[in-house]
Point group: D2
Chain length 391, copies 4
C-alpha cells in the first residue's frame, strides 16, 4: 500500500491493484490534461488535472461503497470505474470534446476507446476486471449510480477541487454531511431527508461555479478559439478526430503550433493571452431569432462576410442548457422517495436561474469588435442596448 497526499481529501490509501492501473501510460496521460481547460487564463491557480480529480473521485466512491451491502469484488469494480471514469478525456478536457462529438458521436464517456487496447487493457485483464461492466458504470448504464448519476462521486469531487484551485468559495458545500446522509436503495444513491440541505447546497454550488467559473466569458472564448483551430486542422486533413483520445495538452499545443498558419496564430493568441473579445454578449432571452434554427458555422460565415472579416476570425457561441439530471436525485422523505426538485423549491428555482444565466456570445479579435458587433446585433435581432455588462 502507498499513500498519496491529495489536497482535497487528505492522505489517500492506494492499494496495489490501484497502483497497477495508475502506473499505465494511459492513466499517466491524465497528468497532462488540465481539469478545467483554459480556466487558468482567468484563475491563475486552476492548473489542476484530470489525474488528481480521478484519484479524488475514486476516494469518494470508496467511501460510498463502504456502506453498500454488496460483495467486495463488486465494490472494487465500482471503485476502479471511478478511478477510470475520465480515462478518455480529451486535451484541455471539455475544450476539445465537441469536435470529437460532432464528428464521431463520441465523448469522454466512451472509455472503451481507451480501455480496449494498450497497457491498460492488459493490466485490467490481469487484475480480472470485467471491462464491459466498468464501462456501464462509467456511462451510467449499470444498476448503480455511484460513478455517474444525479448526485455522484464525480460531481462531489469536482466542485470541491475546482473551488480549491480557483479560490472561488462557491464550490464549498457540506460534502461530508452529504456523503453521510446518502443511503442505498438497491445500488442507487438516495439522499436521506437529513441531507436535503447538503444536497441543495451541492446544486447551488454547481450553479454558482458554472456561472462564475466554467462559463466565465474568457473561458468560453478560449475554448471556442481552440475548438475552431482543431476544426480547421481536421478539415485540412491534418488531424483525425480519433487521435485526440491519445493526445494531451502538451502534444496538442505543439501540434497546433507546428501546423503553422491559422492554428499557429490561434495557439499563440492562447499562449500569450491575446484573446478574441466579445463583439456581442447578451442574455438569450434578448435574442430576436430562434436560436434552435441557427447553425453556428453558417452564422459565423454570414456575419464575417457582412462585416468584411475573415470568417476564421468570427466565433458564434450558442450555449446549451445542461441537462440538469441532478435535479432528479432521489430524497427519502417520511419513508417515501421523492425527486429533489419536488421537495425543494430552491432546487426548482435553480432550473429557472440556469436558463436566465445563458448568454449568446460573438467573439472576434479586438480590432474587428466594432464592425462585427454591429453586424452580429443585426443578425441576431438584438437591441444593442441590452449588451450585457453583467459578468
Amino acid at each position: 500500500m502507498k499513500l498519496i497526499q491529495d489536497t482535497i481529501h487528505g492522505l489517500l490509501k492506494i492499494e496495489d491493484w490501484m497502483i497497477k492501473i495508475i502506473d499505465t501510460p494511459e492513466f499517466q496521460r491524465l497528468r497532462r490534461i488540465s481539469q478545467i481547460g483554459f480556466a487558468n487564463l482567468v484563475f491563475p491557480g486552476a492548473n489542476h488535472t484530470r489525474f488528481e480529480h480521478s484519484l479524488g473521485v475514486m476516494e469518494i466512491a470508496r467511501r460510498l461503497v463502504e456502506r453498500m451491502e454488496i460483495d467486495e469484488d463488486e465494490k472494487m469494480e465500482i471503485v476502479a470505474s471511478a478511478l477510470l471514469h475520465d480515462i478518455a478525456h480529451l486535451p484541455f478536457s471539455h475544450c476539445s470534446e465537441s469536435v470529437v462529438e460532432r464528428r464521431l458521436g463520441l465523448n469522454h464517456e466512451n472509455v472503451e476507446v481507451v480501455l480496449r487496447k494498450g497497457e491498460i487493457k492488459d493490466v485490467l485483464r490481469d487484475l480480472g476486471f470485467n471491462v464491459r461492466k466498468m464501462i456501464a458504470h462509467i456511462k451510467g448504464l449499470s444498476d448503480c449510480n455511484v460513478v455517474k448519476g444525479d448526485i455522484d462521486a464525480d460531481r462531489i469531487d469536482y466542485l470541491m477541487r475546482d473551488s480549491h484551485y480557483t479560490g472561488v468559495a462557491h464550490g464549498v458545500f457540506d460534502a461530508q454531511r452529504l456523503i453521510n446522509k446518502i443511503v442505498f436503495v438497491d445500488k442507487k444513491i438516495v439522499i436521506d431527508a437529513g441531507g436535503l440541505r447538503s444536497a441543495e447546497s451541492l446544486l447551488i454550488s454547481r450553479f454558482l461555479m458554472y456561472t462564475t467559473v466554467y462559463y466565465h466569458h474568457v473561458c468560453r472564448i478560449a475554448r471556442k478559439m481552440f475548438e475552431k483551430a482543431l476544426e480547421f486542422c481536421i478539415e485540412e486533413g491534418n488531424l483525425k478526430p480519433r487521435e485526440l483520445f491519445h493526445m494531451d495538452d502538451f502534444t496538442t499545443i505543439n501540434f497546433l503550433k507546428a501546423s503553422g498558419g491559422y492554428p499557429k496564430d490561434v495557439v499563440e493568441r492562447l499562449l500569450n493571452r491575446k484573446l478574441f473579445k466579445r463583439a456581442l454578449y447578451v442574455e438569450i432571452k434578448r435574442v430576436g431569432v430562434n436560436l434552435n434554427r441557427i447553425d453556428p458555422s453558417n452564422a459565423e460565415r454570414e456575419i464575417a462576410e457582412r462585416a468584411g472579416v475573415d470568417e476564421k476570425y468570427v466565433i458564434v457561441d450558442i450555449p446549451k442548457l445542461a441537462n440538469g439530471e441532478e435535479f432528479e436525485a432521489l430524497v427519502l422523505v417520511g419513508g417515501e422517495m421523492k425527486r429533489l426538485d419536488e421537495v425543494s423549491s430552491l432546487v426548482r428555482a435553480l432550473r429557472e436561474a440556469e436558463k436566465n444565466s445563458l448568454m449568446l456570445g460573438v467573439y472576434t479579435p479586438k480590432e474587428f469588435v466594432d464592425k462585427v458587433s454591429r453586424v452580429a446585433a443585426e443578425f441576431f435581432a438584438v437591441d444593442k442596448t441590452y449588451q450585457s455588462k453583467l459578468f
Copy 2:
C-alpha cells in the same frame, strides 16, 4: 495601536480610541454573551461570543468605509457604531430577546439603554462621539446602511463566523469579492453587477444557516425553555425585564438556579441537556388552523389542560418569517439600480423556500410526549401522519 488575532479576519489593527471603548465593562460584558445562544448544545464548537463578532463587524465596516468619500470623522463614527452595534444584546443573545420585546417594546438595537450611562457614556463623550447619530446608524435610521441595511457588515461577519465555529460549511461565501463589488451611491451600499453572484451566495448561505443552525429544533427548544423560565421569574416579580440588559450568560444562569423551583428545574435541564422533546413538529402549511389568531400562551394552557400536564411543561413555538430585507439590496445593472430580487430568480426562490421551511413545534418533557402529541395535533388540526422527520 494594538493587534488582535481574529479567527475570521486575521490580525485586526486596534486603534487607541477603539481600545478605550473595548476596555469598558459594558463592552467586556459581551465576552460573556454567546453569539448564537444554546446552539452549542448541537454544535459543540459554537461557543463564540458577541465580543468577537463585534470586533469582526467593526473590521468589515472599516474595510467598507475606506472606499466611501466622506470625511474621516464620519468614517470613525460609522466604524464605532459597528463596534457597538450589539452592546445591548441580551443574555444568550436572541434567546432572551422576545421576553424584553414583549414587555418593554425594546430589543438589542435599543443601544441607548446601555450607551446613555456608566463608563461607556463617559468614554464616548471624551472621544467626542455623537451618540445620537451612532444610534441612528445602529438602528438603520441614518443615511448610511453599512452597519444595518439589507446587505451589511453585521450579516457578512455573522455568517462567516457562525460557519467557522459550528463547522457547517453553509456559511462560506465569497465575502472578499462581495466587499470588493460594493460601491457607494451617496452613503448607501449598492452591489455592482459583477458582485451579483456573491450577493446571491450570501443570501443562500443565510438561508442554509437558518434552516440548519439557527432554526435547528434543538436550538429552538432550548431557547423556548429558557424564555419560559425568564417569563416565570418576571411574572413572579423576581426579575425586572430591564435588568436583562445588564446581565450576561453567567449571571442569568446563576439567577435562574438560585430562584429554585421551576426556573431551577429548567436551567438544570439546559445544563445537563435533559431537554424537552418534540411532541409536534410540522410544516406550517400542514396546520389546519389560522396561526395568526393563536396566542401561544393560551395554546400552551389549553393543550396542557387537555393532556393533563402542568402548563409550565408545554411549549408552543410558532415561527415568524424573517423580514427578508436582504432581498431588497440594490444592484447596479447596466447603469440602473434594481432590487436584488428583481434581478435574481434565485433570490426570489429563496423567499418561497423560507416560507416552506417554517415549522410549528410543540415541546414537552420526554415522558409527556405521547399525551401532548395527540392533543396538540388535534388542537392545530394537523394530520399526524405529516409529523415531520425532515430535520
Copy 3:
C-alpha cells in the same frame, strides 16, 4: 447512532454507548470548562471547551485503535478512556489545578474522584466497563499509551483545536500523516521513520503554541490572579479544594463574586479586563538568585512588604519546565527503535529553546508597578536593563 459536527475532525459518529456517557451531568459539566482558561482575554475566539476537546480525543483514539490488533472490547475501553480523560478537569482547566495539587496532591488525571460516584458511575457499570483499567489508561499507567503517552491522542487534538480557535497558525501540523505513520509495537505507539517529519512538526507546534498562547503573559497573569483568589477562599475556610472537582467556570466565577472582598475584586478585574501588569518579566537565566530555593508565597510577602503594598496584590510567578516526555517518543528507524531526541537534532534543540523561553514574572496592579518593579528586581538580583520586551 448519532452524528456530531466537530469543527476539527468533521462529522463524528457517536455510538449509543458513547451517548450514554456524554449525557451524564458529569460529562455535560465539561461544556462549562473552558479549554485554555483565560486565553480568550488575548485570543477572543478561544472560547472552546473541554467538552469538544474530549470528543476530539475520542475520535483520534478511535482512529488509532482501529489499527491495533486487540479485541473489540479492549478497543472500546481505550476509546472510552479517551472520551473521559478530562472528566476531572477543574474550573478554567489548568488555571485552578495547582490549588488542588498543592493541597490534595490531586490533579485532573485523578479521574477516580469523579468516576467513582454519581450518574457516571452507574452508566459505566451498566455498560460493563472496568473503571480501574480506564483510570490506568488515563494516567498513563497501562500497557497502552494511546490516551496518555509521549505522542498521544490528547496532544494531537489540543494542538489542532487550540490553533483553530485562537487563529494562531502555529498549531497546524500534519496530523493525518502522523496518525498514518504510527505503528503499534505491542500496545505502544511507535512512529515509523516516514513520520519523523510529522512528529518533529508536532513538537515544534507544541513549542510555538506554548510560547505564543499558553504562556502568553496575559494568560499567565490572569491564571495567577485566579489562583490567588481561590487560595484566599480556601485559607479563609470558605472553599474546600475538593469541591472544585464538581464546580465549573460559571459556578466558580459566581462563588468568587459572592465571596465579596478580595475574591470579588479579583474576579471583577478578570471580567472587566483590569488585570495586574508586569512589574518584572525576565528570562530566568537573567535571575541572580537560585529560583529552586524561593517559595513564591514568601517572595510575594517580602516584596509586598518592602514595596509597601498589600501582599494580596503582588504575584510572583516562577515557571516550571514541562517534563518534555514527548521527546522520548519512539521512532522506528531501519528496524531499530530509537528515541525521537536521539534521531532528530531539531527535537534536541527544542529542549534548549524551551529552557530559554522561560520567564520569571512579578505582577501587580498598574498603580503599584513602579514600586514593585524596583523591589522585585532587587529581590531577584536582576539587572533591570534586561527587563524583557520580547513578547
Copy 4:
C-alpha cells in the same frame, strides 16, 4: 484596475501598469513553467506555476512597501521588481537551472537576459522603469531587501503556496503576523521582537518543506534525469544553453521527445512515471570519501563502467547545503539589532538539522539497481547497512 483571484492571498488588485507587464509574452511564458518542477510526480496537486507565484510575491511586496517611508516611484519600482523577479526562470524551474549555471554562469536571477529585449523591454521603457535598478533589487544588490534578502517576499509566498498545492501542512506559518512585525531600518527588513516566533516558524516551515517536498527523493531523481537529458542534447550540439531562457515546460518536453534516442527515452520515463530508482541513498555523514573532491560525472562514468551499465543510465546526486541566508535576518530586541541565529536556539538547531538531512543518492533504472548498488557503495565507501529507509 482589475481583480485577480489568487488562491493564497485572495483578490489581488491589479493596476494598469501591472497589466501591461503581465500581458507581455515574456511574462505569460511563466504560466507554462511549473513552480516546483516535477514535484507533481509525488504530490499530484503541485501543478502551480511561476506565473501565480510572481503575482503572489508582488502582493507581499506591495503590503511591505506600504509601510516604508519612501516615495511612490520607488515603491512602484520595488513592486515591479517583485513581479518580475522570476522572469528568467527556466523550464521546470530549478530542474534545468544547473545546466545553464554550469555552462554560462547564469541562473534565474540573471533577469537581464530576458528584460533587455522583446516586448517586455519596450513596456518597461514606456512605463519609465529603471531596469538597472530593478535588476539590483532582484539580485539582492540594492539597498532594499524586500524582493531578495534573508526573509523576503519571495520566501513568504512560496512556502504558503507550495503548501496549499502539495497539501503538506508544513508550509503553514503565521505570515500575516510576520508581515505585521516587520519594521524597516533604512530600506532593510528587520523583524520586531514580537515577530520572533513567526520568523522561527517560517524557517521551520522552510526546513520541513525542503526535506518533505523539495528534496523528496522522487523529485530529485526526476530532476536529475531531466538535467542529464538536457546535458546530452547540449553536448550533442542540438541545444544551446541560452535558448532555455526562452523555452517553457511544453516546448522543452517536446524538444526532448523530438530529439529521439536517449533524451526521448528519458522524457518518456518522466511522462509515464517509469523513473530511475535509488541504488544508493545514504546520509552524507555515512560516506567514507571526501565528497568535495568527487566530480559527479566522473563518478557516474566509473560506477557505470564497473557495474557494466551504460553511463547515461547512472546518476550520481551529491547535494549541496543551501546557503542559509535566512538565518542572518535581523531581529530588533530591546533596541538592538541581532541576527536571528544569535537570538534563537531553535534557528541555530536548524542549521545542524539541515546538514544532517543531506543525502547522497545514486539512481539507475530498476533492472540495474542491484548491480549499481553494490558498486556505488564501494565507490563511496559506504557500509551498505546504512542504506537509508528514512524517507
